[in-house]
Symmetry: C2
Subunit: 235 residues, 2 copies
């Protein structure tokens, strides 16, 4: 990124803002505050919304923060540091595949004390897709099968692992597991995903009209999930 | 709810606050605002977070808004009106199953212009689980298989449908589809889910220590997704 401090500053501010909103969501879904407190909170929350309004990129324009500042999708709903919906899942390349560790918070709760099964599926789709990207095989999800053996506890370090198991033309099959970080041989959930790289014709049909952040026609868009970070996983 | 205006007020405020945060997320993931604007926004966002802090229920305590005010889980990450992460998906009972319609926003974007495959899986898990609840068969997800035929467009009314297809003891199999609302015979995505009602022993093991909002031992907790609303779907 070097001299492009404008993008760096925007990336830092967007990431911090995302983190504050993420913490606010965690408090909101946990709060027993009285109605008066919630109403007072509503006022500052509306101010924040007011500040943010009026600067939207058009529907078919890519985010400049994606294009200029990072080279990955910072607003991805599973892995994006710039999306308060994402925990975010930080996926790292390891020998033979990808990994991520995460303590899932209350905003993702399904049965009391456990991660919503659909949230686990969301994170696994992102993880498995990143494993395909890691071996240079971008693709869109064609099938995702998730088997839930035991519930995934909230507020507990969880280890996500995935690796490509089969490739065939534009098809990439990936398998993954979810385990407690302290018991990596215990499988709570396992998943298999099939990712297909769209043909040139399909890609053109899907992404026709897409423009880059500066409004110029987007370069031939390769379906690219956020992919694993380059940095090694900190143990 | 009748005379319990305290809960009604809190439910209204929590729902409004959730909605404002949800709109803020949508703006944040869409914004091209300069760094200075984002930094100014950060100040009011931090005030909101400050207001919310200090009123958290303990980890194993159910939310009073769930228990007193509504009878469903308002903080559910897919369907909860009180969780900014949820679009929310509003599931209604219909003849023979359940339905929901939703325009999915940019915060849930995967490939540019389309819903993240994992988000579709999240919504389908909630939908299929609600179809099981609708016939009185609460269960936790044991398997979820999603087949993606075509990408699901953002900002387009989407129809989600699901119905129970097989029951066997504590097992309930549910099938569902995702279609454009204007082309309900076109299947974009289809899914099958297996939901298993935990045995009494398993349920006790999973939910041991859970307490109700007033701190008393939780009643025998039946694994209950938010389930469909009673109100008919507005066409």
């Amino acid at each position: 990124m070097g001299a492009d401090h404008g993008s760096d500053d925007r990336h830092t501010a967007a990431t911090e803002l995302s983190d504050v909103l993420r913490q606010s969501i965690d408090e909101l879904v946990s709060t027993e505050a009285p109605a008066a407190t919630l109403k007072a909170t509503l006022e500052t929350a509306r101010e924040t919304l007011g500040h943010l309004k009026g600067c939207r990129r058009p529907p078919h324009q890519l985010a400049s923060l994606d294009a200029e500042a990072r080279g990955h999708r910072i607003h991805n709903p599973a892995a994006g540091e710039g999306n308060p919906i994402a925990p975010p899942l930080r996926v790292y390349a390891v020998d033979g595949g990808v990994e991520a560790t995460l303590e899932v918070g209350r905003a993702y709760e399904g049965p009391p004390g456990y991660v919503h099964g659909g949230v686990t599926a969301l994170l696994l789709d992102e993880l498995l897709g990143s494993a395909a990207v890691e071996v240079g095989r971008y693709g869109m999800t064609a099938r995702l099968s998730v088997t839930y053996r035991r519930p995934v506890p909230l507020r507990t370090p969880i280890l996500f692992r995935a690796a490509v198991v089969e490739t065939d033309g534009r098809r990439t099959k990936v398998a993954g597991t979810v385990s407690p970080l302290t018991a990596p041989h215990t499988t709570l959930v396992e998943a298999e995903g099939l990712f297909i790289q769209p043909s040139d014709d399909t890609r053109r049909a899907y992404f026709d009209g897409l423009v880059a952040a500066d409004g110029s026609p987007a370069p031939d868009y390769h379906v690219r999930p956020s992919g694993p970070d380059d940095a090694p996983r900190t143990p």
